[in-house]
Symmetry: C2
Subunit: 247 residues, 2 copies
């Protein structure tokens, strides 16, 4: 592992900073020592001595490692290997919470792709217990109070749907987008709570899956996802920061 270590653009000449070097070395150290989740790293001074770097440099490297979710640090306890890497990715993703209005349609389109895609798997493989659980998650929506909780409950149903799909990558991706999805739902819910309505639509979607009716499922899901469009279309011009498709 750790074949590609160069994070800097390939064009940049060999100008590896001491911090970046330390990041790689500490990573290699963790790997070759076979450190598992929960194991502790050497102290900062010790790392500095081992890799011939100042404690400040070690600290900056540890800051990066922490930002990347490899380690967690607590005073005195030191740095320990952390699990839950997805959380780090999600944090970075959530960090840029710019939900431009025009991206709503885009995101919903992606959700349609993923959810209809996993729907195929659900129709083929899900059991009755799975559907019961899906209904149970949906029912939690009725107990949700306030816009925030409502949006979260709404999201949870869809996440449960994706989870039933049995594809970890799809689920991870969906979770990755949670902040953005919830944010968008937040807008919709604020405009029109519609708790009972959402609950019923979810129920019909689940019922279509239970009936193995993929046509109805796709239709209901699409309509459900498009529903919120009325609250955002025409709300404003394009996004101010359209990312210029990177190279």
């Amino acid at each position: 592992m750790s074949g590609r270590t160069g994070f800097r653009a390939a064009v940049e000449p060999l100008k590896i900073s001491a911090v970046d070097r330390l990041v790689d070395e500490i990573r290699a150290f963790v790997a070759e020592q076979g450190l598992q989740v929960g194991d502790a790293l050497p102290t900062e001074r010790e790392l500095g001595e081992r890799f011939q770097a100042s404690r400040n440099t070690v600290r900056e490297a540890l800051v990066i490692l922490r930002a990347y979710g490899l380690v967690e640090t607590r005073p005195k306890a030191g740095a320990v290997i952390a699990g839950d890497h997805a959380e780090a990715v999600r944090r970075v993703f959530a960090f840029h919470n710019g939900v431009s209005p025009d991206s709503f349609r885009d995101l919903q389109g992606f959700r349609r792709i993923v959810e209809t895609g996993v729907g195929e798997h659900i129709i083929l493989h899900a059991t009755g217990a799975d559907f019961d659980r899906l209904d149970a998650v949906n029912d939690e929506l009725l107990a949700a109070d306030g816009v925030e909780e409502l949006a979260l409950a709404d999201y949870r149903f869809h996440e449960a749907l994706v989870a039933l799909g049995g594809n970890r990558t799809a689920l991870a991706t969906y979770r990755l987008m949670r902040p953005v999805i919830v944010d968008l739902m937040h807008v919709g819910k604020a405009a029109r709570p519609a708790r009972a309505e959402t609950h019923e639509t979810h129920g019909r979607i689940a019922a279509a899956l239970r009936a193995r009716d993929r046509i109805a499922f796709a239709y209901l899901l699409s309509r459900h996802l498009d529903y919120g469009l009325q609250f955002v279309t025409g709300s404003g011009p394009g996004a101010p920061r359209g990312d210029p498709g990177d190279g």
Copy 2:
């Protein structure tokens, strides 16, 4: 914007470190000053003076900001606001490059979901010029030399396919997984180059799209994605580091 700032788990008591405080303050500063991509931040010393923090603390905060892709720093040039947030997410994603063998099927399943999903859009909306470009990308595969280039060219065809889908989120997600996808392709190519074979299969997939034949497209794509399975199945026991589904 910047409503939710708490990245730390909600359970953790209010124990904000000076560095984290600085991260938030600098972010707020960028927002309220309306700094755009390319604009420069104040110098480290100036930031330290403005926010009452040591330069070392400022540096640690800037390291985090850099890890999160908000800024880029170059010696002397200082820190400038960076675009291309997706790059930061991708970096973090690539950082944990644990490509466990058993995840191959999972990833391919996700790719199938995304690529068949965008295929629907392509069939409905793509023009002849779009298909020509897709073929052109595919032809680049013939010029690829070596396993590395081959894997990359293979990836590029699929990325071009997703790009034709017209969904930025799907494309961004696909790019996010590029390192993992290319890594897996790398394994496959090393076992069996099959350049001409891959090129022909891609060509048939593109032809199916051009003919608006969604059945053929789905079939060819599925078979293409499943193709590499023979090289990894039974190659070894489960992944050494299966992430324990985060909460």
